[in-house]
């Protein structure tokens, strides 16, 4: 669309009767012209013809660079934006190699299924056009058993995911043909392999490459990722290889107008209704609009609100849970104009071809800058302007980003984290590896040697001339989950029919699924009837209720070992291993913000050893005396500071909000004095608190700015309230925390 059309659309919004001044700022990301090179001559003619048939007559600079690196024998990581032609970039060298060697094979890995389907379609059309007998196929949990032998014996291109690879590796004998000639392993959406999941996948990849090696293959790794700050480091931690980085995007794009829209503005109403309003306004202006929401239920809600209007709009909801034929129908309708708007969860974020969009509405913060851009970046026909509305909710991170748009606008803002040192993860995967091929640990290699010896001591592996051999009943692969560390999970089950709804870890279950708790599953409320810790099952029933529940818990932190320390303004910050104990002791029942009831709970104390940072805070920078409630005033300041620190960390260090936790006290066990702890919420730690420690000065400055600029009186969800607080956000002293932050910066 033309620039004028964008201006018109914004003016329409501003003039709407529902508008309350929510548009906080508009930023224009400049257009970019394409940098291209001709298709290299050496590309196999069948592959070249296939590409030309798809309209690819030249290569963007980054596609050509990727090609050159692979041709030069290097592993590659491509870190460019959505819709920049990454598929062609990584498929080209693979298809070319497969054309030259009729026995060569390749594996494509995806973190989620939807993308695999798209890639399959692409490869099938390549197969048809080039007649290379690729027989591309998806091999994952949904692949019917009867088709599996054929794929194992005949497919040259296999698409799968890390979970399936994890489960299938012990059966490598059945994949002998495939592994013997494995030339490429392609990992798309590589930035999603971060945190606990990423750390586990990194070990799965190492196991995969080890098996390939045993069959004489040394496949090239080709990774494609959204823009992140550390593509090379991430790729090398994920794969164990030194990868060449290609991050200069040579594709064309029109100018993007990014509108920061504050749904927490006064008198503005429900953020979902506001989303509907913006979405409807854009669709009415004749713009083809895609709206992303955080949950499936919200997607349906917004869509139905849009269709309810007195002048119903041709829009449709869309989500991964729909049947494939429905999804195809909606996509087609969007392409041909039957639908002018679609409301979706991030299913569409993952690359489905729906034609070009004029506008995107991103409702809520999708959890990471790269996810935001994968959604917002969909808007824009080639070379033309596009508009993206970001609807910020209340909440520390959203409000921070609203006030610091440069964070969201810097695409390569995020760092992906992978921890290669967590010994839980190492031990679990070593056990799996030992059941795939004997594990030979080089002398002196730590921590592998010690881990192996301990596994041997527990009778799980046996040392032989070949290496460590797995020697126990049952499959270790079932004991090692890729999404979590440690193995204590609780299944949330529908009390009505026994259906498994979700699996969450034990800690979270004690906090959110205690008997009587109101639990939110897919944006619907359920009431927990029973939590059986022996069988690890929580039974809950679907019920619409007017209240919500909030767990009350007590925590304590002991320091096991200090690894490092540094000054932090007037205080000292340290990093090391800590032991957290946590007990849920009761709960509150609340309606809106009012407490209407509560109860006690008898839940066991949970212990966890992990990594964390702590700040020893001197009394001098804390408020003196007692507060209105009779508690030491210092407590409120520490508490608010802790919340802000933990609340902002996901933005500062790029992690999931659930991966970090905090604790503050005026009498820490190790010192008897005030301290604030921030620690990894996963057994053994996964490097997040460490990163926060390294970045502490910046993080503290962000907290200082947030607290001092927030317009609230004593604290609010935008600056220091946390939905997870075990003390129901009491006591809370924002001003004291702002002073504290200033003294620590």
């Amino acid at each position: 669309m033309k620039r004028e059309a964008v201006q018109e659309a914004l003016a329409r919004v501003a003039a709407a009767p529902w508008y309350r001044g929510q548009m906080a700022s508009v930023h224009v990301v400049p257009a970019r012209t394409a940098e291209t090179e001709p298709l290299p001559d050496v590309v196999d003619p069948r592959v070249a013809a296939f590409l030309r048939g798809r309209g690819v007559t030249a290569l963007y600079r980054h596609q050509a660079e990727a090609w050159r690196h692979v041709a030069g024998g290097r592993d590659v990581v491509l870190s460019t934006a959505t819709a920049s032609g990454k598929t062609v970039a990584f498929s080209l060298p693979v298809l070319d190699a497969l054309a030259r060697d009729p026995n060569a094979t390749a594996m494509f890995l995806y973190p989620l299924k939807a993308l695999a389907n798209d890639q399959l379609a692409f490869l099938e059309s390549a197969d048809l056009a080039t007649e290379m007998d690729l027989a591309p196929a998806i091999y994952d949990g949904d692949t019917p058993r009867v088709r599996r032998p054929r794929i194992r014996q005949g497919s040259r291109v296999v698409l799968s995911n890390p979970y399936e690879v994890h489960e299938t590796l012990p059966y490598h004998a059945m994949w002998r043909r495939f592994f013997s000639k494995l030339r490429f392993v392609v990992m798309d959406e590589a930035h999603r392999y971060t945190g606990v999941f990423g750390s586990n996948v990194a070990q799965v990849i190492r196991r995969l490459l080890r098996v390939a090696e045993a069959y004489g293959s040394h496949p090239r790794m080709v990774l494609a990722s959204a823009s992140i700050a550390n593509p090379g480091e991430h790729a090398s931690r994920l794969t164990g290889r030194d990868c060449a980085v290609v991050d200069r995007d040579g594709s064309a794009s029109g100018a993007r107008h990014v509108v920061f829209f504050d749904a927490a503005a006064p008198d503005a109403g429900s953020p979902h209704v506001q989303t509907r309003d913006v979405f409807a306004s854009l669709v009415r202006a004749g713009l083809k609009t895609l709206c992303f929401t955080l949950s499936r239920r919200t997607a349906e809600l917004v869509a139905s609100l849009a269709m309810e209007e007195r002048d119903p709009l041709p829009v449709a909801p869309y989500r991964a849970g729909y049947l494939p034929e429905d999804r195809r129908r909606i996509e087609k309708g969007f392409r041909d104009g039957t639908y002018r708007g679609i409301v979706s969860t991030d299913a569409l974020e993952l690359g489905i071809d729906i034609g070009d969009l004029d506008a995107v509405v991103v409702s809520g913060y999708p959890g990471s800058v790269s996810s935001f851009w994968q959604q917002a970046g969909r808007a824009g026909r080639r070379g033309e302007d596009a508009v993206a509305f970001w609807v910020a909710f209340e909440g520390i991170v959203d409000q921070y980003l609203l006030r610091h748009p440069e964070t969201l606008l810097d695409r390569a803002y995020e760092r992906a984290t992978i921890d290669l040192a967590n010994e839980h993860i190492l031990a679990g995967h070593m056990l799996c590896a030992a059941s795939e091929l004997p594990v030979a640990v080089p002398d002196g290699r730590e921590p592998e040697q010690s881990v192996a010896r301990k596994l041997e001591g527990a009778g799980l592996v046996h040392k032989t001339d070949y290496g460590y051999v797995f020697a126990a009943p049952s499959r270790p692969h079932e004991a090692v989950k890729l999404d979590s560390i440690g193995n204590e999970t609780v299944s949330l089950v529908d009390a009505e029919d026994g259906d498994l709804l979700e699996t969450i870890d034990l800690e979270r279950a004690c906090r959110e699924a205690f008997p009587g708790a109101v639990y939110l599953h897919e944006a619907r409320t359920w009431v927990v009837e029973e939590l059986d810790l022996a069988t690890r099952i929580a039974r809950m029933r679907r019920k619409d209720v007017g209240h919500y529940t909030h767990a009350l818990s007590s925590k304590n932190a002991e320091i096991v070992a200090t690894h490092r320390d540094r000054p932090a303004g007037a205080a000292t910050a340290s990093f090391g291993r800590i032991r957290m104990t946590h007990r849920v002791r009761g709960f509150l029942v609340k309606r809106y913000d009012r407490v209407i009831g509560g109860g006690d709970l008898e839940l066991p104390e949970r212990r966890m050893e992990t990594t964390g940072l702590w700040i020893d805070v001197p009394w001098t920078v804390l408020p003196a005396g007692t507060d209105a409630g009779g508690l030491p005033a210092a407590l409120g300041a520490l508490h608010a500071f802790e919340h802000a620190l933990v609340g902002l960390a996901p933005v500062a260090i790029s992690c999931d909000a659930a991966d970090l936790a905090g604790f503050s006290t005026i009498a820490a066990p190790h010192s008897g004095r005030p301290a604030v702890f921030v620690y990894d919420g996963h057994e053994g730690g996964i490097g997040l608190a460490e990163r926060a420690f390294t970045d502490l000065p910046r993080l503290v400055r962000m907290v200082r700015d947030l607290l001092s600029r927030c317009g609230c009186e004593k604290g609010c969800p935008a600056c220091c309230y946390s939905a997870r607080c075990g003390n129901d956000n009491q006591p809370m002293d924002k001003a004291g925390a702002a002073v504290l932050a200033g003294a620590l910066a």
């Binding site: 012990p170 059966y171 490598h172 004998a173 002998r176 045993a214 010994e423 839980h424 031990a427 679990g428 056990l431 059941s435 795939e436 091929l437 004997p438 921590p447 010690s450 881990v451 301990k454 596994l455 001591g457 527990a458 009778g459 799980l460 046996h462 040392k463 032989t464 001339d465 070949y466 051999v469 797995f470 020697a471 126990a472 009943p473 049952s474 499959r475 270790p476 692969h477 079932e478 004991a479 440690g486 193995n487 291993r577 050893e609 053994g684």
Partner: protein, 373 residues
């Protein structure tokens, strides 16, 4: 990270694996059918005369019989004797930890039917002809496949079938039967008659787990010689001996034109294949495979409470094993043995005994089934 912490991690994993094992044990009846006695079953008439009436063992209803009790009895029986004595076999020179035990037992000779004639008379072998049509063709005078060779519609296919029959190659004929969906047809078993009795390898393995990632602990290999079965058992006194065990087993399979197992298509053969690949020497052999489980199901369904080998032995052969280690407990017992191999040799010996019983009864069952063909 401290040593204690690492130990905790290892123990956590161990506990989790035990939970999984218990869950699997509580869940399944496995491929052999229910452990519960069926309400009305009629004992199958026994083709081989029963020497004396054996007491019928009461089926255990609990999925996992008292392990501690069993352990105690087995160790008592062993009386602290060394493994070598208990097994009655020696360590293989050059393969420390690998014991070889040789033994023999009587086994009725399996009948050798005229399988080629029977095949020729089976019109349904021809693709396109099913039972109903076969009957009609037969009534119309096409009594065997040879007469169909000039048939306008089925000629070419019939000629192909005839060629296979004339070649008398059990491998091709088994393939043919498989494509006709008749892998567990008595004729498939009767194909053994095209092989020399000494060509058949009877195989049964005991493993530390079900999924192929755990070691094989005992491999029972047997051949018939006249009216006796000659059995060789390879026993791994430690996982370090497994590579040699696997190599010898794989070599034996590769050298045998025919293989007889009980549920070996799903379990024993793939398992040996996985272990061979685990040690870097993939198993490439592909003998004619006679798996007695599907044949047993077909022959005895509804007439036996389940198709476990010991159940079939009891009802079909009239043999009772008495005190025997249940196959499902082998992994646990071996794990227990490994924790103190010097003192617990009795556990491994009991596993070897169980394997011996399995192999011998499998050979005898083969005789019974082959006779029914």
């Amino acid at each position: 990270m401290g040593a204690d912490r690492r130990e905790e991690i290892a123990e956590l994993l161990k506990r989790r694996l035990e939970e999984l094992r218990e869950r699997d044990a509580a869940r399944g009846s496995g491929p052999f059918g229910s452990r519960r006695p069926s309400p009305s079953h009629v004992p199958v008439p026994v083709p081989v005369p029963v020497p004396a009436p054996f007491p019928v063992r009461v089926a255990a209803h609990s999925p996992e019989p008292d392990l501690a009790d069993l352990r105690r009895r087995l160790l008592e029986r062993a009386g602290g004797r060394p493994l070598r004595d208990l097994l009655g076999g020696d360590e293989v020179p050059g393969c420390p930890g690998l014991f070889e035990v040789r033994d023999g037992a009587p086994a009725p000779i399996a009948p050798r039917p005229d399988v080629l004639s029977s095949l020729a008379a089976s019109l349904w072998l021809v693709p396109g002809i099913r039972a109903g049509l076969a009957a009609k063709l037969c009534a119309a005078g096409f009594r065997d496949v040879r007469r169909l060779c000039d048939h306008p519609r089925f000629g070419p296919q019939a000629r192909r079938v005839c060629r296979a029959i004339d070649l008398g190659d059990p491998y091709r004929l088994m393939d043919l039967l498989a494509t006709r969906g008749a892998r567990s047809h008595p004729l498939a078993l009767a194909l053994h008659a095209l092989l020399d009795p000494s060509d058949l390898l009877f195989l049964d393995i005991e493993t530390m787990g079900l999924f192929g990632g755990s070691p094989i602990v005992v491999a029972g290999l047997a051949r018939v010689s006249g009216d006796r079965v000659e059995l060789t058992q390879l026993v791994a006194a430690s996982p370090a001996a497994e590579p040699a065990l696997v190599r010898r087993t794989a070599d034996a399979i590769a050298a045998s034109p025919g293989l007889v197992t009980f549920n070996g298509r799903s379990f024993d053969l793939p398992y040996v294949g996985l272990r061979a690949a685990y040690y870097g020497a993939p198993l490439v052999a592909d003998p004619v495979h006679f798996d007695l489980l599907p044949h047993s199901r077909r022959a005895y369904r509804g007439r036996v409470p389940d198709c476990r080998l010991d159940t079939l032995a009891r009802h079909v052969l009239g043999e009772d094993r008495g005190e025997d280690v249940p196959g499902a407990l082998v992994p646990l017992l071996y794990q227990d043995y490994l924790a103190a191999p010097g003192r617990r040799a009795g556990l491994l010996a009991a596993i070897a005994d169980h394997n011996r019983a399995d192999v011998v009864q499998m050979v005898r069952l083969f005789g019974a089934l082959a006779g029914a063909a």
